[in-house]
């Protein structure tokens, strides 16, 4: 009997009835459990999307998925008589090591949670971060994905966003278009103001309220400078900016209002005429 038991191989021991049952239960738990967790997390996501934002729905989905997977894996390991408490002990030691190694990732995860709670922007908003401007494609666990207007894909870590100034260009429904206008010193300022306001009234994209404004900026080196500010709904901002600039130019041309080039006049004293400038051909004069 003892000799016989010594001759039993590991493969044979695996295939005996009891072990086979355990192994089959292990496989079944995994084969059924994993798809169930996956389907459950997708269902939670579609339910959550109806009441919460897409980012919050994603968090719920991941929460259900990872919790479910942890339970399935623990059930499967317990089926194999694996002592799960040993894992927790090892996890404590490994946790310290992993904690040091994953500081940045954890920071990004926590920053992501703050971004979702604070909602400085949402998916499909146009934002500027530093020199990057683009549309928010997704707000994920570790990073935010953006598409620039020239169709580049940009990944910005959440930690960077929490630490940086983020400009949300499309948060509010109306936006102001600022046009810097400089006119020659000979022009009548009141007339220029009246013409600019008339241009605003006649532009169909320009809102009556908030009222268009013409603000005096200063007596510049070459021109009298104004800030012409008009408002449009956010979707019409670019169209208004382009159309009103064209209208200003054509109306100024029609009214004879000069937009001067930068220029410098030389005077030898306050009451003298400008110094005349004449170019001589030195080689011709020397003959």
């Amino acid at each position: 009997m003892q000799a016989d038991s010594l001759l039993v191989s590991p493969a044979t021991s695996l295939l005996n009835g009891q072990n086979l049952t355990i192994f089959l239960r292990f496989v079944v738990i995994l084969l059924i459990g994993i798809p169930v967790v996956y389907i459950l997390s997708r269902w939670v996501h579609s339910l959550a999307k109806k009441k919460f934002s897409p980012q919050e729905a994603m968090i719920f989905q991941k929460l259900v998925f990872y919790t479910g997977m942890t339970i399935i894996v623990m059930m499967a390991l317990m089926e194999l008589n694996f002592k799960v408490s040993v894992l927790f002990g090892a996890a404590g030691i490994a946790g310290i090591a992993i904690g040091f190694a994953s500081q940045t990732s954890v920071s990004n995860i926590i920053s992501g949670l703050f971004l979702i709670a604070e909602k400085p922007f949402q998916v499909n908003d146009v934002i500027s971060v530093g020199t990057i401007t683009g549309v928010v494609l997704s707000i994920d666990t570790l990073s935010v994905k953006m598409r620039t207007f020239d169709n580049k894909y940009i990944r910005i870590p959440n930690e960077t966003l929490i630490k940086s100034e983020v400009i949300n260009i499309t948060k509010f429904p109306i936006r102001r278009v600022d046009i810097e206008v400089g006119v020659a010193y000979k022009e009548d300022m009141a007339r220029v103001r009246k013409i600019l306001l008339d241009i605003a009234i006649n532009n169909p994209l320009c809102l009556n309220e908030p009222e268009p404004q013409v603000i005096f900026r200063g007596f510049g080196n070459s021109s009298i400078d104004f800030l012409f500010a008009v408002w449009a709904v956010r979707e019409d901002w670019i169209k208004l900016k382009n159309s009103i600039a064209e209208e200003i130019k054509s109306r100024f041309d029609a009214e004879g209002i000069e937009i001067p080039f930068p220029h410098i006049s030389l005077y030898s004293g306050s009451k003298t005429e400008p110094i005349p400038v004449e170019i001589f051909d030195a080689r011709r004069d020397s003959r």
Partner: protein
């Protein structure tokens, strides 16, 4: 095809009447009302419509559509069509500034009258019922009603709300809208501008004018929305007027909605750099 339509001899434009008009194959007709000129042509199984806003639409009866005009086309069966013009309010609310700033003490009420330009709705009656297009008769500018963070786009009416009703000289495209304002709050109501949600109003016609049904607005305080309700009958000022166009959106019995705005909602003083 477009050039053939537009290169004919000048055709005298007919004033739009809120009624039906008939076209036969080969006909071209021009219709004008306010700033709007509409051209219609029936060409072998297709109805063509174009429009423009010529500067002298009212002064020159022979003004015509330019050769670069955009034409819209619909398939129609038969050699004759019947088209109906009806007035309709715009798809956005109107912001009306009070002609003279109005102050309503608490527990008082007042009626004001607003003249609202209507749009022209063009529908096919025969051979088939079909809505064709809706066009503004007067081009109104847009404005923002609300604050810098939220609000809605509205049309701006510069004619103002008047305290008294004056019969209009016969005017085919302005509807008189009676608005009954009441102040049910403990504070003074200062009306600088108000939002008239004409999408909930019907249009009636008497011998001289277009009317809307009466709009009632009950102010409940600065921090609360006002109650808005619509009287579903012709206005008392023209009880015999006939209904020619129903509301675009049926009004509920009473709607709680933002109606009054102050100038400081969008103060230019927020703007300084």
């Amino acid at each position: 095809m477009t050039k053939n339509r537009a290169s004919r001899d000048k055709i005298k434009a007919i004033d739009v009447s809120w009624d039906e008009t008939h076209l036969q194959t080969g006909d071209i007709q021009y219709f004008r009302i306010g700033e709007l000129l509409v051209a219609m042509a029936l060409i072998t199984g297709e109805l063509h419509i174009s429009h423009c806003y010529p500067k002298d639409a009212e002064a020159d009866p022979e003004v015509e559509i330019g050769p670069d005009a955009q034409w819209n086309r619909w398939d129609v069966a038969g050699d004759t069509v019947t088209v109906r013009f009806t007035p309709q309010f715009a798809d956005l609310p109107y912001i009306v500034r009070a002609e003279n700033p109005l102050e309503l003490p608490q527990k008082t009420h007042k009626k004001v009258y607003v003249k609202i330009p209507v749009w022209l709705s063009c529908s096919l009656v025969l051979p088939q019922q079909q809505k064709l297009m809706t066009l503004p008769i007067v081009k109104l500018s847009k404005t923002w009603f609300g604050d810098f963070a939220e609000g809605e786009v509205c049309y701006w009416i510069s004619s103002g709300a008047r305290n008294t009703f004056e019969p209009l000289p016969e005017n085919r495209f302005l509807a008189i809208c009676p608005v009954h304002l009441s102040n049910a709050s403990p504070e003074l109501l200062k009306v600088e501008k108000m939002c008239v949600r004409a999408q909930h109003l019907s249009i009636y016609k008497d011998e001289r004018n277009l009317w809307s049904n009466e709009l009632s607005i009950r102010f409940k305080g600065k921090d609360r929305f006002s109650d808005m309700s619509v009287r579903e009958k012709p206005p008392k000022e023209s009880a015999a007027a006939k209904l020619i166009s129903g509301p675009q959106i049926a009004a509920k019995r009473s709607v709680n909605i933002r109606t009054f705005g102050g100038i400081l909602d969008l103060s230019p003083f927020d703007f300084f750099r």
